[in-house]
């Protein structure tokens, strides 16, 4: 807890806390640690708390009467020694089929990046990506860690419909579309895994701080796993980080 933070009143009952304008895992860990400490302190009645790469927004139940004293209280929580372990982070193994029938932009990426399709798949599935936060769509993970060799601009014109489960690259990010939606990223494969289920109290299994590792699978394996997922009997393989 050593960053210089900026505190801003956001509206009558919310405060925004900002870290330096950088994207890295040290800042993410600090954001998550502060968020966990605020939740654990039970000093406030919180309606909503959410974070992004280097920011944390807290909306309180009651209007803020004295913003200075609120910020002083938050600063003392940030400085407090007590380490709170929010939860045990996991690395999730996500099966992805990189068959060209799903990876409709694989060829385009290969030509643009002067790589073979196999090299793209290898580079994409070698890394363990970090989940920074969930946003944009319900269950959309903001992942960090894409190999620079795979960075490619978004498409000039977004597609109107991208199929749920599509795994894609846009700029220096990679991600999974959790539902059918429009989108401008380059699609390189598809996963049969559900990233968002409204019937579960934790609608997305992955959390900020977790790792995501893509495991290449054949079309046959993809279809088998899809059947299991549809019957809600597929168990996503995972391992606890640091275990």
């Amino acid at each position: 807890m050593s960053y210089t933070l900026t505190y801003k009143q956001f509206n009558e009952c919310a405060v925004l806390i900002e870290w330096p304008k950088l994207i890295n895992e040290d800042i993410l860990n600090d954001v998550l640690q502060f968020k966990a400490k605020i939740k654990a302190s039970e000093m406030f009645e919180i309606v909503l708390i959410k974070h992004a790469y280097q920011s944390l927004l807290i909306q309180f139940k009651n209007n803020i009467l004295n913003v200075e004293s609120l910020i002083t209280a938050l600063k003392s929580i940030y400085q407090s020694e007590a380490e709170v372990m929010p939860f045990q982070n996991k690395i999730w193994k996500i099966p992805v089929c990189y068959d060209p029938c799903f990876g409709i932009d694989l060829k385009h990426v290969a030509i643009e990046k002067d790589l073979s399709v196999d090299e793209i798949i290898k580079k994409h599935s070698l890394v363990t990506y970090k989940v920074y936060f969930i946003g944009f769509l319900p269950g959309f993970l903001y992942l960090g860690g894409l190999d620079e060799a795979l960075e490619i601009p978004r498409k000039g014109t977004p597609r109107l419909q991208i199929e749920k489960g599509s795994v894609a690259i846009g700029g220096n990010q990679t991600g999974i579309y959790p539902s059918n939606s429009p989108g401008g990223w380059n699609i390189i494969g598809q996963t049969p895994i559900n990233f968002f289920n409204v019937n579960k109290s934790e609608p997305c299994f992955a959390r900020a701080g977790d790792g995501i590792k893509f495991i290449p699978v054949s079309k046959k394996e993809f279809l088998d796993i899809k059947t299991l997922v549809e019957h809600d009997v597929y168990f996503i393989e995972s391992e606890v980080i640091g275990a």
Binding site: E18, A52, Q54, Q59, P138, V198
Partner: protein, 282 residues
């Protein structure tokens, strides 16, 4: 049960939404005008956040299959019960078989129908608010049937009416806080933002209201950060977008202003062509 004979232009069941699932990327949703919905509920002795039917621009045509007490608040769409005009902002007893319909939009843009208790539609992630991808259905259609508890007594005269001021429907002042990136604007831009008249464009819905006026933008996009309903974003091409109740959880455009809670209510009663001014909250 309430039978939907005609759904109107865009109608959906809404309560105060699902703020607890923002960390999963789920929009808050909920009634666009909390003041009106809370008032309709209050007239019936319901809690402010109970599920109501939100109707946009054109009201629905609805048949009650059980007697109950109802209240309508928000936009005035000249409601009629069995073709006889009825008042808004008032508790009204309806009998089984009665048909509620609406006429021309007279004032405001969104009207709220509350029933005593609340609508008994399915709750998903802690809320009955309809939203595509979260609830199925995501809006009300002709032929739908909405359940509610019947009420067997006649209206209590003391419930008949509470004084309520509808002037906010025409209010031209939208109160705001400075947004997190407000400080990046030039002095001239700051002055312009707080003095110029703005117009609601045709791109206005439950997610966002885009404004007609193009605003000179010299600010770079930001690292993706949290947004809330009422956040005013400035896009690279200079469009101003006011996020509304169904907005995404995070965004990458500079946040130049933030509406007060009540200003979101006021703006949600405006539609294409309406003009207003931003003003700092006193």
């Amino acid at each position: 049960m309430l039978r939907v004979l005609n759904a109107g232009f865009y109608s959906s069941i809404q309560d105060f939404g699902r703020p607890n699932f923002q960390e999963f990327g789920v929009p808050i949703s909920g009634v666009m005008d909390r003041k009106a919905a809370a008032f309709a509920n209050a007239l019936l002795g319901n809690k402010a956040n109970k599920a109501v039917l939100e109707m946009t621009m054109l009201g629905a045509k609805l048949q009650f299959e059980k007697a109950t007490l109802i209240a309508i608040a928000g936009a005035d769409m000249l409601p009629k019960l069995n073709d006889a005009p009825i008042s808004i902002n008032k508790a009204i007893f309806v009998n089984a078989g009665d048909v509620l319909s609406f006429g021309k939009l007279k004032q405001g843009f969104r009207t709220y129908l509350a029933v005593m208790g609340e609508f008994k539609t399915t709750s998903v992630l802690g809320s009955k608010s309809m939203f595509l991808g979260i609830t199925d259905p995501c809006c009300i259609k002709k032929g739908d049937v909405l359940t509610y508890n019947s009420v067997s007594f006649s209206p209590n005269p003391s419930l008949a009416s509470i004084k309520y001021n509808n002037d906010y429907l025409n209010q031209k002042i939208i109160n705001v806080f400075k947004g997190p990136e407000f400080y990046l604007l030039s002095q001239q831009q700051k002055r312009q933002l707080l003095s110029q008249q703005f117009t609601v464009s045709k791109n206005n819905n439950r997610m966002a209201y885009q404004l007609v006026e193009i605003f000179e933008n010299t600010i770079e996009p930001i690292i993706t950060s949290p947004v809330l309903p009422g956040t005013v974003q400035l896009t690279p091409s200079g469009e101003l977008i006011v996020l509304m109740r169904d907005c995404q959880t995070t965004g990458g455009y500079p946040r130049v202003l933030q509406l007060t809670g009540n200003a979101i209510n006021i703006l949600s009663q405006k539609f294409t062509g309406a003009t207003f001014y931003f003003k700092f909250k006193a």
